[in-house]
Structure formats: structure tokens, C-alpha cells
Symmetry: C2
Subunit: 486 residues, 2 copies
């Protein structure tokens, strides 16, 4: 019956193709051998990564040119593949796991988290629905609740209430989900092209990207001026909203940043919350890097005002020992988010979801599919305990304190923003060209990797401390490099 209906002669396979059996090129026993070798390769890598140039020194096209232009016709030996990794891939790596990596923010890959990622890959679970692996969903919900305990976050984010948490791939995606939930909350009241979103001029670029994805035009996105600490000025925020309303627009979303990318400045979340309340705007707080510091009680200033936030995100994959990707995203009310993101086709229906007894995390994120990311967080938290996590962030803050003091004492350098945690933002007093020269000399030499930003229209250097293997001697080393270049 169907043969005539289908284009392209697909039905031909019923007769043409001979029975073929699939021979896995790697048996389970071979996997054991190659897997043990891979574990040792990684442990060896971590031991020698300190000796490798942090910023890869290859030129554009070098890596690709070293590899065959076409895929192999037949399978190749595992040993040949591993040899190629060492010869062609490793030189093209910028080593985020180097203890001398001080660029951007860190990307922590600790041993227990890597084992969690490995187990997740081996189980090969796809947790889009509760039913497609209950443990994937329930361990994730528990880890989100545990993190509230570990960081002293507000109870409104607990899964037992109207809110809850989910692991996103990144704070960018969390910001986008928050924007979508905020927009959904205005449905039926405002036309979407009237909506306006706000963040400080120092907010992460993900805010603008998220707004653009959600269909906002540039004219619907505001960058609010900041004060001397590079924190958002809430009076300026309020005035911007008043101006927008007077022109027929509708403030609907504010992103406050707890720890900006350029200098870990803290927007005054409580004062911003007052403004959000006055104008009924969604308050999203981005603590992507700094939020992890709250595992140490003395750093809980990073949570200031969160009890009034509609949503909050921070990244254990930056500074809490858990390899990328693992971003915590909380909402105080999960309903507008689910209303924004839930589409239920027949092929995903199941008894547990229909009964409303379970969480289906597909409705809390942009993609449908999802990995079992809670495993790695569980492994990290259990192996460290609350004390171990706290000591981890404390160790970096101590190193930053030391580095800050030495930069402050150096005649040619100056601190340009408050060192609130473990990022030190500073500059050579000689001007932008000197700072660029110093940055390039360090990075091109391979001994360390630092990045720059702009503050008050000046090029400034950032030393972000937080890699898993960074010790005081690495701070001593990069300081000596800087001093020699000054």
C-alpha cells in the first residue's frame, strides 16, 4: 500500500540491502583498557598542565591543517587516535585547568566532577521527563535544594514551595528563561513590543543576547549607569522606567548583577527590588561567578536582596568545582516559566506527567533533551562537604587579598575597582598601551593567561583567581611576571 505514496524509492531497502551485522570497533573489554588509559591520561595531564603554555600558541588554521581533510573509510586503531590527541590537539588547547589560568572566570573541573560527567555519559540517560529517568530529575531537584542550604539562599527557591530550581547549561540560558517567564507574566496585559528590559552598563552580554533572542528590539533594552564601584545606580533605573512609561512603554524585566564580569561589582539588589516592586517588573539576579562564594558564610553578602528576586542564577561550573556545564537557576514562582516553555505533544505524554505528580524539567529550559548533570554536583558536594566547599573559595579569596596588597604597593600599578572576592582588577599607570603590552607579553609567553576589560574608558587588567589547582606559588609567579614587565 505505502510504496506508491513515498518519494525517493525508500522502499527499495526492503529488497536491496544485504543483511549487515554491526561489529563494534571497541568491545567492552577494550573499553576497560582504553578507559583506564584515558583516566591516567587525564591525571597525567593535570600533573603536567602547569608546564604547558596556558594560552595556546597556535595560529588560526594550524590544528585543522594537521588533520586529514576527509574521514577514514575504515576504523582506525585507538592508539593512533590517542597519539594524534597528544600531537595535534593538546598544542591547540588553551588550558583552562592550568593553575596559571587567570583569564575570564575559571571553569572548574575537579576530579569528582569529572567522574560524575563520566558516569552520566556511561548511563546515557536523557532526562527530559521525570519518566525518562526519575533519578535524573529527583537528584537534580534535591541538589538544587541542597544548594539553598549550602549557600544560605532564600526559602522561596525551595522545590517544596511555589518556586524551585533546575540545572541550566549556562547563566546565559538562565537569563533567557527568566526573560521568557517575565514576558509570559505580562501576557494579556501588554503588547510585547511595548516591553522594556533593564540592566546595568556592566551587566553580562547574555542579558542583551537573551532579550534579542526573545524578540526585543535594541530600543527595548536599557543599560543603566553605574556608580564609582561600577554598581547599578537604582535612582537612574527608576528614572529610566518613569521615562519609558511616559512614552507608553512597559518596564517588565530587570537584571541585577551580583558580581559583574569586569570587576565583580555588586548591584544594590535590595534598592533595585524596590524599583521593581513599584513598577511590577521581574527581578532576575545574575550571580554567575560570585554566587558560589556563599558556600562560605562570611561571604553571604553576595546573596543580599535575593529574598526579593523572582529568579537567580549562579554557576558551580565557574567556581564550585563542577565541570562545565552546571548552572543553578532558581525561580520564586515556576508557573510563568512553565507556561512560557511547555508544549506537550502526544508522543511525550505519560501517566506520571498527566497526573501532575512530577517535575518535567523539559519545561524549565530551552532544549527538550537533557543530561544527568546532577550526578557531578552530587559527587562534588559529597566528597567535599560544606566545609570543603567553603575552604575552596576561601583559599582563592586569600590569594586575591595577597595579590591585591602587592599590586596596591607597587609604584607602577594601581587597583581600579574594589576586590570583592577573588577577581583583582588593576592597571599599569602608564596608559592603555602599556596595559595591552603587559597582557600580551604574559599571554604570549605562555606562563600565565590574563584578560582585560574597560572601566571608565580605560583598558584594565583582570586577574581572576579560582582554578582548582591554583596555589599561592602561582600567584607569586604571575606577580613576578607583572612586576618584571612594569
Amino acid at each position: 500500500m505505502y510504496k506508491s505514496l513515498v518519494r525517493g524509492g525508500w522502499w527499495g531497502w526492503m529488497w536491496q540491502s544485504p543483511p549487515m551485522s554491526y561489529q563494534p570497533p571497541m568491545s567492552n573489554d577494550e573499553f576497560r583498557r582504553a578507559g583506564h588509559e584515558m583516566i591516567d591520561w587525564i591525571a597525567d595531564y593535570w600533573e603536567r598542565v602547569e608546564t604547558l603554555p596556558v594560552l595556546s600558541q597556535v595560529e588560526p588554521g594550524d590544528v585543522r591543517a594537521s588533520l586529514p581533510a576527509a574521514p577514514p573509510q575504515s576504523g582506525e586503531a585507538w592508539s593512533d587516535i590517542m597519539a594524534d590527541v597528544d600531537e595535534f590537539i593538546v598544542p591547540g588547547i588553551t588550558h583552562w585547568q592550568s593553575p596559571n589560568f587567570f583569564a575570564y572566570f575559571p571553569a572548574n573541573a575537579s576530579p569528582p566532577s569529572v567522574l560524575g560527567e563520566l558516569m552520566s555519559a556511561g548511563l546515557g540517560v536523557q532526562g527530559m521527563l521525570w519518566a525518562t529517568s526519575p533519578a535524573c530529575t529527583e537528584l537534580e531537584t534535591l541538589m538544587m535544594d541542597w544548594m539553598i542550604d549550602l549557600c544560605g539562599l532564600p526559602d522561596r527557591f525551595l522545590s517544596s514551595g511555589a518556586g524551585g530550581g533546575v540545572i541550566q547549561d549556562s547563566a546565559s540560558s538562565g537569563a533567557l528563561v527568566a526573560i521568557l517567564a517575565a514576558r509570559e507574566r505580562t501576557a494579556g496585559q501588554y503588547r510585547w513590543e511595548e516591553l522594556v528590559a533593564y540592566s546595568s552598563e556592566h551587566a553580562h552580554s547574555s542579558m542583551i543576547k537573551g532579550c534579542r533572542i526573545a524578540g526585543l528590539m535594541e530600543s527595548q533594552i536599557r543599560a543603566i549607569p553605574s556608580d564609582e564601584t561600577h554598581a547599578m545606580d537604582p535612582a537612574a533605573l527608576r528614572q529610566a522606567m518613569i521615562d519609558d512609561i511616559s512614552e507608553g512603554r512597559r518596564p517588565f524585566f530587570v537584571q541585577a548583577t551580583s558580581g559583574t564580569t569586569s570587576s565583580t561589582a555588586f548591584d544594590p539588589v535590595d534598592a533595585i527590588a524596590d524599583v521593581c516592586k513599584e513598577f511590577v517588573a521581574w527581578l532576575h539576579v545574575d550571580g554567575a561567578f560570585a554566587g558560589s562564594a556563599a558556600v562560605a558564610p562570611e561571604f553571604r553578602f553576595v546573596n543580599a536582596g535575593l529574598e526579593r528576586a523572582d529568579s537567580y542564577t549562579f554557576n558551580p561550573h565557574k567556581w564550585l568545582l563542577t565541570n562545565f556545564d552546571c548552572s543553578m537557576f532558581y525561580v520564586a514562582d515556576r508557573q510563568p516559566m512553565i507556561a512560557a516553555l511547555s508544549v506537550l505533544p502526544e508522543y511525550l505524554r505519560n501517566a506520571a506527567s498527566d497526573a501532575g505528580d512530577v517535575v518535567d524539567y523539559r519545561d524549565w529550559q530551552i532544549p527538550l533533551g537533557r543530561r544527568f548533570r546532577a550526578l557531578k554536583l552530587w559527587f562534588v558536594i559529597r566528597t567535599h562537604g560544606a566545609e570543603g566547599l567553603a575552604n575552596f573559595v576561601r583559599s582563592h579569596v586569600e590569594m586575591a587579598k595577597d595579590f591585591h596588597a602587592r599590586i596596591e604597593a607597587h609604584p607602577q600599578f594601581e587597583i581600579v575597582a574594589p576586590t570583592t572576592l577573588s577577581l583583582v582588577t588593576f592597571r599599569h599607570t602608564g596608559g592603555d598601551a602599556d596595559n595591552e603590552r603587559i597582557r600580551d607579553a604574559i599571554n604570549n609567553g605562555g606562563e600565565a593567561y590574563i584578560t582585560h576589560t574597560k572601566l571608565n574608558d580605560q583598558t584594565v587588567l583582570r586577574l581572576a583567581i579560582g582554578a582548582v589547582r591554583t596555589e599561592q606559588r602561582h600567584i607569586d609567579g604571575v606577580y613576578s611576571l607583572l612586576a618584571a614587565l612594569a
Copy 2:
């Protein structure tokens, strides 16, 4: 200077906290031991997964209730954690790696891909920019080009031209990126609230979700009727566009599906491309599951019409031996996508990007951060070779052919849609209740896992063949179960 400027007394740490040293709870040597054990645990799991109930038999809340409500204060022993995995996590797993998993579509986790995921986690690279690990970007570009060779895809997707490819986390995200690029292409010509998107009534729900994320209202999304094979009717598509234009709307995006979720039906991409050309709409082709079949030349009918598509996606994490997430996404012209997604703050600027010599994949996706996913694909392709990949999909199509014939010959079952590849869609002739009874009996018994869908308003069963370890004897087994329940 800064002390008085900063809220919350953060400066207090300069004086209060005692020097704390971080003691990693797992040394490199302990990682080697625990890692070897984990590799063996996974190999053991793959050997015994066939004996476990495929669909987890736990009730909502069971997994969580078995675990401590609060995180530990001090670190715990690794052996205790692994014991808890076996006792509390494994029973809550729905085993996607079981050879008796026939639900949804498969999620392939082959041994070499798991080793690639492991290496990626160990390297801990964040490839948002070329500079942040050139190998991460360049190997990915090469793999995207290799896949064009392996699958016989159009040259317009090659990185050497105006287009190119990127690994997304999922086809959902790929669809969203395509929608955003298509919308960007209309910028300055149309108001976004005039735009209309189209797909068949059998398109994946990700199309609707993507449109909603991008800010389209329900009134801007059309489900086009399908023909007897459940493929989109291009005449109905054309008429819908004419109707929309007559009412002042602007057709801007069409998603054609090569292999629908319900029945792997193939929309007539070439005829749809004619309509898209006539009305200047972006043509995105979703081959999420079926696209992998093109590694076998005799199945390249799945690529029909792609030489006219603006974008295309398919998922090696479904049916090409690469663990989730690994979704191929191609565009014929990368400019509108980059225009839609690029936001360049100062702290991400670098010489290579500024010079325009490199690809920065952050501008090809929703999040900023990204893992080194190309490694696992490289390992899969090199260990298998083109021949091995082809034999893998062939083996499943052969099994589907056998199952199809047996269902067709059974007096109480009937085939309800063409078996185009390795998904067989069928039903018991007794009616919806009988089909639901059979589905539940199989799933609750734990011997196999199948899912249902609706076609022509009837509940039908889906047997999706494609797990890495599925052999003919597993097809024999699930057929026997079905026959006994008929």
C-alpha cells in the same frame, strides 16, 4: 578608598577570615583508582543493563526520599557514594542504553563517545571563542565538514563557503537558531509581529517552542495538514501562505521534517523549497533522527532537497553512536545567524577575533559557553570509519524490516505508517484501549520500553530500533511479548 562605597561590609574579609588552605578530597592518585573503578562500573553496567527493568519502576518521590534531605557538613568516602549510586540511583534510572529500549528515539552512548566525553571533561575547555581553545573550534569545524562527506550533504554547508556547521546541544536549539536567523534576514523589511512560521502538523514540538521563545504568538504559527504518509502537503503550505499574505502577514520560516517523530515520515523538501522560494521564506530541515541514516549511501533519500535548504539539523546523539549532546546544525549562509546572535563586550575581545581570521562559535548558539563536544564525534568516526557507521544504521534497518514483516503478518496487528528506516509504527486492531493496555503491560513488566503516539486520531505504538547494543534477539523478544499480549 573603596571601603565606604561598598554595601554589606564585604571589605571585612580583609581582616576577619583566617588563612585557610584547600585540601582536595580526591588526590590525583585517588582519581586514578576511582576512575579505573568508574570505567569498570560502566562496562559492568553495559553488560548487565539488559537484565534491568528498562522503564524505572520507582514511584514519584522514591529516589529523593531515599537520600539525605541536607548536604553533608564534612566530606564523605568515595566508596559510600558509589554504594549509594548502586542502591538508590540505579533503580531510578530508565535505561536508555538497554538493548530493549525502543521508546522515543534512541540516545546512543557508544564506548568511544563516552571516552570522548571523559576527555572533554578532563581537559575542561570552554570553547566560546577560537582563542579560548583553538583545537575546540577547529576540530569542530572539521567534524562538521567530515560529516558532509560521510552523509553526502550539499557542499553549501561546507565551512569553506558562505555557510558552515556547528554542534548544538539539541535539534530544538538548532531550530531556534534557524528561526532567529530567518527573523534577522527580514530585519528592516517587516515588523516582527507580522511574521508567520509554518511546519507540518507532525513536526516536532521544538518548532512551536522555538517560535514562542523568539516571541511569536500562537497566531503566527501554522500547522500544515499532511497526506496519507503523514508528510506535509506542499499545496496546503502554499495556500496557507497566500491566505496569510492576503491578510497582511509575512511568511518567513518553514520547517520541513525529514523523518517525523511519530512515524519517520518525510516531508517533500523539494516541493516545499519551491514554495519557500516563491515567498522568500527560510527553509529549515529537521532530520533529527533520520539524518544519521545518510552514512549508508543507500539511505541518502533522507537528504532529498537539502541542496535547497537554508539550514539543516540532525542528531548523532540519537542514532550515530555519540552520546547526548551532539546535534549537527548547518546553515547555507552564516551571516544572518551571526548578526542575530553576536554581542561583543570588551572582555571577550581578542586579536584573533578582531582580525576576522577565526570562527567564534559563541555567535552560532544560544549560550555563551560551550564544551569540547567535537572530541567524542572524532573518536566515534575514527574508530568506526565510514563503513562501520554505515553498518551500524544498516543493522537497525534490517531489524526493523524483520519486525515490520512479522507485525504485518500477525492477525491482530497492523502497520499504520510506512517503515522508512528503523521506526515501526503499528497498532492492535482492537482499538485505543487495547494499544494502551499492551504498551503499559510491556513497560510495567520491565522487559522492554515502547512509547505511543497518535496518528489519524488513533493511539498507535512505536518501536524505535537504534540502541547501541540492540541485536536481533532483542527484536525477537519484544515481538514475542507483543504477540503474547495480542
